[in-house]
Symmetry: C2
Subunit: 417 residues, 2 copies
């Protein structure tokens, strides 16, 4: 894989030029893209031209190539949202986060595949860890491109589990920041209270560096003291939906963290937090039916998505309002939890990537945390019985992204040890 933080150092030290890194991507793409299918659009020549910009190496991303999930608008590359109805669509402006990437000195090398409108209809993308398996969804292309070494960084989005799940399946780091830390302006919206822009990289250090560079916030871990944190090991009321491999991985992660000096205590979530899991779907589907109402009426949706939203249209405003109140109570309760813990560790997915392409897998271990709006990181390094990756999800306190990333880095190091 291409290690963003290390490539950044290489560019700053003039061991590599931005153009050299573009060529590393181009080489991997030439070797693997035909098998993996991670890109909806590619612009290698554009990236090569942009790599020659004076002063690029001095900027926060130093000219590193970044993939953009094709649910985000780009004015210079087509933006199809994974939908045939938007083939050839070319917005007038970039999404806000895409412009942030460019301002930080990132090179937009291509658009990565997304399921249709970031919902469930699978892409043609294949898991580079083992072809024949799903890379997960909806941010399929971003996870796969990073896993295949075709990109050091790629933007994704999560409404249920669309960053954490593909990161787990592809054995990369997926980082879903605190809600709205990265802007959603210029994203095709599904659910305005849930849609969250996130980032993929090889290791925790890479996404921390990338997110810090993009936002201008203090997120990079290079000078961070990685004191072992206080972890709560959380299986949730849905533990029975995780397979034996996922349980074994979570227990191994807990042991590794404890061996590295972290405090690890098992925790049952308070009932008010568990109760919010069931209302995620009400909020997602009610808002999705509103957001995509015009696409629905114009016949722009697949039968899968149209059918889902036909059912969603039956959700009444008072049920939606009640769901929002349940979520608000759970979020308040989450704040209390972090008096005793720095971060939670829990399942990132129910197990390894499923075989085949009929499904992108389940978001059952992600949707609650998306609804809570808190930062989540899928930490790679463990594998399951099939030999495929299993990520461990680190969940932090709302707004405490740096601390959460630091906790994830401790876990990553402990797992590797």
């Amino acid at each position: 894989m291409l290690l963003a933080r290390d490539l950044f150092e290489d560019i700053r030290a003039e061991r590599l030029s931005p153009r050299d890194v573009v060529e590393l991507c181009a080489l991997a793409i030439a070797e693997q893209e035909a098998d993996v299918g991670a890109f909806a659009a590619l612009d290698l020549d554009g990236a090569r031209a942009a790599a020659a910009a004076p002063g690029l190496a001095a900027r926060p991303l130093a000219g590193l190539p970044v993939g953009i999930k094709d649910i985000l608008d780009t004015a210079d590359l087509p933006t199809a949202y994974g939908s045939e109805a938007y083939a050839g669509n070319q917005p007038r402006t970039d999404a806000a986060v895409v412009r942030q990437v460019k301002r930080a000195g990132g090179l937009v090398l291509g658009k990565t595949t997304t399921t249709e409108f970031a919902f469930l209809k699978p892409t043609a993308t294949r898991n580079p860890r083992r072809l024949g398996h799903t890379p997960g969804g909806s941010s399929a292309g971003s996870a796969a491109a990073v896993a295949a070494g075709m990109l050091p960084l790629a933007l994704g989005t999560q409404t249920g589990g669309s960053v954490l799940r593909p990161a787990s399946f592809c054995g990369v780091t997926g980082y879903k920041p605190t809600f709205r830390l990265l802007p959603t302006v210029g994203m095709k919206i599904f659910s305005w209270h849930l849609d969250t822009v996130g980032l993929f990289g090889a290791r925790v250090a890479d996404v921390a560096f990338g997110a810090g560079a993009i936002t201008g916030r203090d997120l990079d871990l290079v000078d961070t003291d990685l004191t072992p944190p206080r972890f709560a090991l959380v299986r949730t009321a849905r533990a029975h939906l995780a397979d034996a491999g996922a349980h074994a991985a979570l227990e191994a992660a807990g042991r590794a963290a404890a061996a590295a000096g972290a405090e690890v205590r098992e925790l049952d979530l308070p009932a008010e937090i568990e109760a919010a899991d069931a209302v995620h779907a009400i909020i997602q589907d009610y808002e999705g039916a509103v957001s995509l109402a015009d696409d629905y009426d114009r016949g722009f949706l697949s039968p899968l998505l149209a059918g889902h939203l036909t059912a969603a249209a039956a959700i009444r405003p008072d049920a939606y309002d009640a769901a929002r109140r349940t979520a608000k109570r759970a979020r308040q309760r989450m704040g209390d939890l972090f008096a005793d813990y720095d971060a939670l560790i829990t399942f990132a997915a129910p197990g390894e990537a499923p075989e085949g392409y009929g499904s992108t897998g389940s978001a059952v271990f992600n949707r609650l945390w998306t609804l809570m709006g808190c930062p989540c990181v899928s930490v790679p390094g463990l594998t399951g019985p099939k030999g495929l990756p299993i990520g461990i999800q680190v969940v932090g306190r709302f707004g405490r992204d740096h601390r959460t990333l630091a906790a994830a880095a401790v876990l990553e190091r402990a797992i590797a040890a």
Copy 2:
């Protein structure tokens, strides 16, 4: 003016057809649009054709024409966001709220003017109450079109005071619902924590009816018991910025409400709430600089807006985070306030519409309430020393829109008595 609630009754009782109402609009447009300039795009023939749809009268809006502020995407009419850079722009889909209007049986008769990206650069629209005066902004065309009797209902948006202020200046009812009651999906975003879609109509009953029909929520006032509420009369720490006419109008409104049986008590806002007023600009400008970053870099902005965002780019993330925390504390405190009051009454604007078109007036009495996310209604009926309208702002509890509208209707009736 065209009274939406009454026209609805006329259509349901077959005293008028949807086509008849379109022709009422067409007549007023023929007489007044050349002077007022409320429309960025007009589609009378499209509205006439849509008025013939079978079953239209049975739908919630019964075929009433609705104007759409040109900051909201429409696929069948050009969408320029008040910006020359977007001349001829035609999105692929309607904004979510536009589709809600259509599903409710509303006819999209035209796009109404907006200041550039709903910021401060004035439109060419003139105040139909007295030409030569600003109609206010940014929802200039929607307020002016309703005031001139060219439309019974029109959508606007508010980030600072862009619904309440033009409603006050034009002598119509402006309703800014609870944050996100009407969806912002497909709106050109300025500030994601502030941008709010609202509605203009002649009277409180008209916006309550319209918003209920568009959202499927119980907001209509026709069967509502209009018990005199408990009002807090609030002048705020910015009272010195209201002119003598505005003070006289607010006092007259308080006396009228008391005479109608309402409890009216003067209230100084708690310090935590007053403190939030100063952070509105930090949140608006920080988010505006992010949202419009690509437009900025592509040279799509006027010098006025580009200059504003150049300054805004100096706001650091930690100042923004601190502003968000101040706003959160104030919102929590707002909840407590409504234990003792059903609604607040306060200034909607510093006075009558200013003469000339150099400025759209001040949002100084609106921005705090936008930040609080609570429902606000500008109630018409009073005039100032120049003989121009002065609205009274009714502010309600977050999520209690029906109660707020009912309180506003009581005040409206009291003022008229």
